[in-house]
Symmetry: C2
Subunit: 386 residues, 2 copies
């Protein structure tokens, strides 16, 4: 359907706003990553995107830049045809920062186009209402929907369900194995894939991993190289029986800030000796009920969500991925397939998750959303679609 209110120029500026939004995915905390462009005719007066941890908002950044533009300063409030392009409806509410809708009115826009109405109850059409009341032409453009949904998916999932968007990140051999029988997994995939994992970590708000992977692989789970400046993400470790309380010398406790580590367990520490013990000092301990030795995944995700994580990447291992697969609490699989073939008795990426007599047609089907190679290795992205 063609919306006659949207010109080719509008589309171009909305695309630029979308590209700006894309840049800060994973960096804006609980807030969505939004992009904003303010134009006067063909001229861009200001650009902005949501800043680190969510403040200032994109609109405030763009308005700040536009206000300094010599054309605006010279003709202040006299120039007409000011368009504002945003990837999400500007917020109506004022809590820790000014209402973006009101800031846009104050700046003096003539027309505001945004890609999506904000599902947040405090806005959800109220931003539009405020601007229209002030005489600004204002509407939602139904374009770039899949691209914007990809940028906003953590935020939208959170608003809809109260749970984060969950990506299972798997690295396997050509035949679906994640490690040799003895547990050797360095490296199943090549260095380009591992660099990609750094980027994926930066785009997610948190990382989840099982205690077996922590113990066997002893990973760092930090952001490295050019990603180091971003700072580490919170790491959630599933450890039903709190085995980590008795294992010293794990690398991630050195590489990550203690307050960013969460051990989720069904065991209640009997006394404070664990908290004050040297090697777990400062690490957060969270309790969740377990069933047959597996933590309740929904409860785990509620805790993750409460820590401000809208996008969660699950880095393994097999029993953790299988828990998510079994309960259905995942949205996407990113599969890195290396070019090695390994013995079949090596470790698989998933365990059994449905009864042995399940018919082929009753196993889950995913939707392929992207495919590319990194030299001899493959990165495939599969989404759960209902």
């Amino acid at each position: 359907m063609i919306d006659s209110r949207i010109s080719e120029k509008d589309k171009k500026f909305l695309r630029i706003a979308l590209n700006l939004a894309r840049r800060n995915v994973g960096l804006t905390g609980k807030n969505p990553s939004v992009g904003c462009i303010i134009t006067y005719g063909d001229i861009i007066l200001g650009r902005g995107n949501t800043q680190f941890n969510g403040r200032p908002h994109a609109e405030v950044m763009a308005i700040k830049q536009a206000s300094e533009h010599f054309l605006y300063k010279k003709n202040k409030r006299k120039i007409k045809n000011i368009n504002v392009y945003i990837t999400l409806e500007p917020c109506a509410h004022e809590t820790t920062s000014p209402s973006c809708a009101k800031e846009i009115i104050k700046f003096g826009a003539n027309r505001v186009i945004y890609l999506k109405t904000d599902p947040d109850n405090r806005t959800n059409g109220k931003g539009k209402y405020l601007m229209e009341e002030a005489g600004i032409e204002c509407f939602e453009a139904k374009i770039y929907e899949p691209e914007n949904a990809d940028v906003l998916k953590g935020y939208l999932k959170q608003k809809k369900t109260g749970l984060p968007y969950v990506t299972l990140k798997i690295g396997s051999s050509l035949n679906g194995k994640i490690a040799t029988k003895s547990g050797e997994s360095k490296w199943i995939t090549n260095s380009l894939c591992r660099k990609r994992v750094q980027l994926l970590r930066s785009e997610n708000d948190g990382i989840l991993i099982g205690k077996n992977s922590v113990i066997i692989d002893n990973p760092r789970l930090n952001l490295r190289d050019e990603f180091e400046v971003i700072g580490n993400k919170p790491v959630f470790i599933l450890d039903t029986n709190f085995k980590l309380s008795s294992i010293e010398g794990l690398t991630l406790f050195d590489k990550l800030e203690r307050e960013r580590i969460y051990i989720i367990t069904s065991k209640k520490p009997k006394n404070m000796s664990i908290k004050s013990s040297c090697f777990l000092k400062g690490v957060n301990i969270k309790n969740v009920k377990s069933d047959l030795g597996f933590l309740n995944i929904k409860e785990v995700l509620k805790i993750v969500s409460k820590m401000g994580v809208n996008r969660l990447m699950v880095e393994g291992g097999a029993s953790v991925w299988t828990s998510f697969l079994k309960t259905g609490y995942f949205d996407e699989i990113v599969m890195f397939t290396g070019s090695k073939i390994i013995n079949d008795s090596a470790l698989s990426c998933f365990n059994d998750f449905l009864p042995p007599d399940t018919r082929l047609g009753d196993f889950p089907n995913l939707t392929l959303t992207s495919l590319q190679n990194w030299k001899d290795d493959i990165e495939a992205r599969w989404e759960v679609r209902s």
Copy 2:
């Protein structure tokens, strides 16, 4: 390295010759699929490629067409600047058909460019020699090497080793499984992939399959739909203990011509009762030694080769693929990965093939040569490179 003898126009015509060669891959029997273009200035006088089962050769087809061209007929032998572009050195020998080198001389070419010297002992530079002796400028152009090698790979492998080029064709779930625990495999991959398999069968000279797959999946293994006109390929069934001698009603014995079916077994039929039995009548039985229950793969490939097969597609199942993997007698894997996730205890594409304590670095590494998706399924091609 730039070869100053080759112009942009030469490259264009060589590319057309290569495209013609590509078309008949899998249809030319023991002969390589070759393409040939004859030009006069910018005008193509004749096009040809190797015909069904290898005769006539591409050059003969192109010469026949060029001889009928009105420009050639009108000015016969008076026109100069006739270029001949071929993907392989023209043959020097005369056995069942005329020597292409001599035919080109007779036609009256001025310049002959070919992409590759023929490794066949009867030619191997002799075609060039004959033409140069006749005053024709003649040389090998070192361009389009990977593309032409892909067209010629069965022929080149055969000439070099006496064995066919072997492609393992695997269809698996997202997690590397080829069937549920109960053996259900219809369908792990989607209909587009299955159509691709028809194309792959048409591009190969023969199909190899294990008796378990024949019994459990009961496949047709014929060429269907638009590929039907090509005719079926010879099918080689590995059946160490000749189990098929006691199983009636298998579909492929109805769908394929009996003389195109080869059962390769280590058992010697004690009397002729098998040959004359109703349901195996007319099927070829070949004997190969077995070791610990597995047929000697090199001996199997020698038989396949003797039947004129330069390109062999191995359609499974797991124990057959593993035999090729273990012995190293394969050149390529074409992996179709479906979008389903299946229980881990389902059937894997490979069994163990190296000792359990093998280090990760000692497992084989392949080279990815092509990658594409068919809707939600992936087709990846991996080559063995030494």
